[in-house]
């Protein structure tokens, strides 16, 4: 993969259009991403807690909002702490992750949806 060009300007011999195959890593001098991630994870949690304790909105809307906050929290943990996009080349973990999220939401969502039928049947 790695080749010098004659003048030594090439980092790695990544073909044009194949830049996504280049290694991607985040290593910083001070863990700012982790510190900010921690602060935001606490903010998201306390936002959800306060909304529920205050009964700030109608129940269905409130449930939707706290689930959205939980999804934000999951994205934050994946992106900041789990180094989701890091890879030597193609980030192979992304595709199965999408599939697993799809299966998980289909499983939970359709289960809830089916249970909503009960009133009409019995």
């Amino acid at each position: 993969m790695s080749e010098h060009t004659s003048d030594g300007t090439e980092l790695e011999a990544v073909e044009p259009g194949l830049e996504f195959l280049a290694p991607k890593f985040e290593v910083e001098g001070f863990p700012w991403a982790q510190v900010m991630g921690y602060v935001f994870s606490l903010l998201l949690t306390f936002a959800a807690l306060l909304l529920v304790v205050d009964h700030a909105m109608p129940p269905i809307l409130l449930l939707a909002v706290i689930l959205a906050l939980a999804l934000g929290q999951a994205g934050l943990q994946l992106g900041v702490f789990m180094h989701l996009r890091e890879s030597r080349g193609t980030a192979w973990q992304l595709l199965p992750l999408g599939l697993a999220f799809f299966i998980a939401f289909a499983l939970v969502g359709t289960s809830i949806w089916i249970m909503l039928f009960k009133t009409g049947v019995s």
């Binding site: 790695s2 010098h4 003048d7 030594g8 300007t9 090439e10 980092l11 790695e12 290694p23 890593f25 290593v27 910083e28 863990p31 982790q34 510190v35 991630g37 921690y38 994870s41 606490l42 949690t45 959800a48 807690l49 529920v52 304790v53 009964h55 129940p59 409130l62 449930l63 706290i66 689930l67 906050l69 939980a70 929290q73 999951a74 943990q77 994946l78 900041v80 702490f81 789990m82 180094h83 890091e86 890879s87 030597r88 192979w92 973990q93 199965p96 992750l97 599939l99 697993a100 999220f101 299966i103 998980a104 939401f105 499983l107 939970v108 289960s111 809830i112 249970m115």
Partner: protein, 205 residues
């Protein structure tokens, strides 16, 4: 820019990824986490279906105390942060920092498990055991499976600490610490959904 960029670029790949075999194991660990996620999704689906089936037992609103669960959330979020710093320290080759932050993670995790057990004991002492209703069965299986994962994670962290002490930061121990951090953050994500979907939504009328 004419810099000796090729060698720099290679140095910028962390050791656990630069080693081809360890790098494959990290990808494999992601696959494991995906399957574990589907296990938890099934248990969430079961809980969603059974949560209104309280029989003669308590309802979620009557049963749950938010105090201990908020404490558990804080402990686990903080431990997620500390293991994140441990990985950061590992990438800067600071073994002593890795020890410190990993031990902090372990202690916070143990605090989480102890709080959860004492919470379960207080529910059970009110007669809310898992055979009382469908809601309680689904609740204990979902939250208990997560708690068992955290307990296993603590044992993993202890063996990891012993291995780090004997071998230092090698490609293998770095990969193990990295996959441990993935496991731990994953459990944090699952907990956030338990906190939201089980405890908080249980308090919504």
């Amino acid at each position: 820019m004419s810099t000796p960029a090729v060698s720099e670029r290679h140095q910028s790949i962390p050791v656990e990824f630069a080693d081809e075999e360890e790098s494959i194991k990290i990808t494999g660990f992601w696959m494991f986490l995906m399957t574990d996620m589907i296990i938890f999704a099934s248990l969430f689906a079961v809980y969603a279906v059974y949560r209104s089936r309280t029989a003669l037992g308590p309802t979620p609103q009557q049963l749950f105390h938010l105090g201990p669960t908020v404490l558990e959330t804080l402990l686990l979020l903080t431990s997620s942060f500390t293991v994140g710093i441990a990985v950061w320290a590992m990438r800067h080759n600071r073994l002593r920092m890795v020890f410190g932050w990993l031990i902090a993670t372990l202690v916070l995790g143990a605090g989480f498990v102890i709080t959860e057990i004492s919470d379960f004991v207080s529910y059970m002492s009110q007669g809310a055991t898992w055979h009382v209703s469908g809601f309680l069965s689904g609740f204990y299986v979902l939250v208990g499976t997560h708690g068992a994962h955290v307990t296993f994670g603590i044992m993993w962290a202890i063996t990891l600490l012993l291995q780090l002490r004997r071998r230092g930061l090698t490609a293998v121990t770095r990969r193990k610490l990295f996959t441990f951090s993935l496991y731990w953050h994953f459990l944090d994500i699952v907990w956030v959904f338990i906190f939201t979907f089980v405890y908080l939504s249980g308090k919504i009328a």
